[in-house]
Every structure is written in structure tokens, then in C-alpha cells.
């Protein structure tokens, strides 16, 4: 992602239980890093589309940025397909797959 000076929020140290993927839930949406999407934009999409808290959206965005990808949703296949298309409508690079 593109880092704009002054817009990089503090590193989010928070960990929460949502970070753990429930292995009983078989499908996930993964958002992949790219050098174009703004960090502020990616975080905003996670917040406004998924309804995630500022802290969670920021943590997922940083995961994408630093680790190259992040699981941003999990659940039934049909729902994950919808989320993937929605991410594409925002210009985020997303795929769905079975959870590992």
C-alpha cells in the first residue's frame, strides 16, 4: 500500500479473539497487498463495508500492508463470494477460498 506521510496511525498493539479464525467456518476472504491502494482507503473500506471498529480495521489493514495479506472475513461460501465482489467494487485485490 501507499504510505502517505502524516497519515500513518500508531501501531495497533491490540490483539483480540476475532483474530483467531474459527476452524469450523470453512470459507474466508483474503485481501492482498498492492502498492497503490492508500492505507487510509483500505482501512476506511474495512470499517465502512464490514462495520469493523477503527482498531480492527486498522489492524487488518496493517496485516495486509506488512504481511502481504489478511483474512478479513469468514463464513459461508456464498457470503464470502459476495464480500469478494464487494472488495473488487472498491478496487481492493481480494480472493475467497476454503479456510486452511
Amino acid at each position: 500500500m501507499t504510505v502517505i506521510a502524516g497519515s500513518t496511525p500508531d501501531t495497533d498493539q491490540q490483539t483480540d479473539v476475532e483474530q483467531l479464525i474459527d476452524t469450523d467456518i470453512p470459507w474466508v476472504v483474503i485481501v492482498w497487498n498492492d502498492p497503490v491502494n492508500l492505507m487510509s482507503y483500505v482501512s476506511f473500506v474495512f470499517q465502512s463495508y464490514f462495520g469493523y471498529s477503527d482498531a480492527k480495521a486498522h489492524r487488518l489493514m496493517m496485516e495486509v500492508h506488512e504481511q502481504g495479506k489478511s483474512v478479513v472475513a469468514n463464513g459461508a461460501k456464498e457470503k464470502m463470494e459476495q464480500h469478494t465482489t464487494a472488495m473488487h467494487s472498491y478496487g481492493l485485490w481480494a480472493t475467497y477460498q476454503k479456510a486452511d
Binding site: 501507499t2 504510505v3 502517505i4 497519515s7 502498492p35 497503490v36 491502494n37 492508500l38 487510509s40 482507503y41 482501512s43 476506511f44 470499517q47 465502512s48 471498529s53 477503527d54 463470494e81 469478494t84 465482489t85 473488487h88 467494487s89 472498491y90 478496487g91 485485490w93 481480494a94 480472493t95 475467497y96 477460498q97
Partner: protein, 198 residues
């Protein structure tokens, strides 16, 4: 000179010179042209109505592929099947946002509400994705190289001109995101606890 977006009592306000508006409108128009599906003769009207496109193929243009990426990795058959079920609707969603964003460019003083701001940011994002493909921005280092082109006097060839345009749209989108994030924060905030000694 353009002015950054900011929140005002009337909404998210921005300012673009006429030449800058023409440029952004042209960019939106270019992406619309890329995304509009080709007219298909003898098309099944029911399939079109529900957004199916049995003949959709993986785009050969990398910029179009970035706008309409595969939804599945490592399984081309499933990716193509999903594309045939969803790509037409995705194209229409994107074109709708780009058209709506173009309408906001009717005057130099831009005034957007929260929803219009979101739509405008999506349109700018699609423009940047396409410009980035043309500029071959594939890594953070590439992006940094492009960000160094800031002065119009530096633009000596097409690539450098595109880099200027990319940096301009990046700046514009970033300022819009700050305004949108502030609005989202305000929406998400609970009313403050009333002061008192309960």
C-alpha cells in the same frame, strides 16, 4: 490550484480549477470506456438482466484485469466461472460510481455528502489502479520512484506526465479519505457521557 477536501457544515468541500476538473472528468471517462461491456448481438436478454455473461474471459489488458481481478487463486476454472456470474454486475457498479463522480465535477467548488464522498473515492481509486498499471508500479520502490515526480517542469515525457497525474489523484484521494474518516469517526462515536457526579 486545487484545494484539499475538508469537512464543512455543508458537507465535504473541495476545489478544482477548470483544467483540473477536465482532467479528472477525462480520467473517469477513460475508465468508463474501459469497463463498458462490448455490445453483444443476439444476447440472451434474461441473462443480461440478471448480470450473467457466459462469454466473459479473463481480461488480457493488465489494467482491466486489476479492475476486474480473479476472485479465486490457483483455480482458473473456478475463477472464470465466478467471473461469468459476477463480472457484468461489477463492471456496472464501477461505471455507475464513475458516472456519479463525474456529475460532482460540474462546478469548481465540489461539495459532497458522505455517500457521494465514498463514491468519489472509489472512482479516484479505480483511476489510480489503472494509472499505476500503465506506470508499472508493482512494488513500494516503484511507488516511491513515481512519488518523486512532483514538479510539472520535471515532466519531459509521457511517463513523467502520467506520474504527475498519478500523484495529483493520489493527493486528492488522500485528502478525501481524511475527510471521510473524520465523518466516520463522528458517526461511530457514542454521545459523550454527561458530566456530573453520579
Amino acid at each position: 490550484m486545487a484545494k484539499a477536501f475538508r469537512n464543512t457544515r455543508k458537507g465535504i468541500a473541495g476545489y478544482l480549477e477548470p483544467g483540473e476538473r477536465d482532467l479528472v472528468r477525462k480520467l473517469f471517462g477513460d475508465i468508463i470506456t474501459m469497463l463498458e461491456p462490448d455490445e453483444v448481438a443476439n444476447e440472451d436478454p434474461l441473462a443480461a438482466m440478471v448480470g450473467l455473461d457466459e462469454k466473459a474471459e479473463t481480461p488480457s489488458d493488465p489494467a482491466l484485469f486489476r479492475l476486474l481481478p480473479n476472485a479465486v487463486n490457483n483455480d482458473d476454472d473456478e475463477a472464470l466461472e465466478f467471473r461469468r456470474l459476477t463480472e457484468r454486475s461489477l463492471r456496472e457498479t464501477k461505471v455507475g460510481a464513475l458516472r456519479a463522480a463525474s456529475l460532482a465535477l460540474d462546478s469548481s467548488r465540489l461539495l459532497l455528502d458522505y455517500e457521494q464522498g465514498q463514491i468519489f473515492s472509489r472512482a479516484l481509486n479505480d483511476v489510480r489502479l489503472v494509472l499505476a498499471q500503465r506506470l508499472e508500479i508493482e512494488s513500494t520502490e516503484d511507488a516511491d520512484r513515481i512519488h518523486e515526480v512532483l514538479e510539472p517542469s520535471q515532466a519531459e515525457d509521457v511517463e513523467q506526465y502520467l506520474a504527475l497525474v498519478y500523484n495529483f489523484t493520489t493527493w486528492l484521494q488522500e485528502s478525501l479519505m481524511q475527510a471521510l474518516v473524520d465523518q466516520l469517526d463522528q458517526r461511530g462515536q457514542q454521545p459523550p457521557e454527561p458530566p456530573g457526579d453520579q
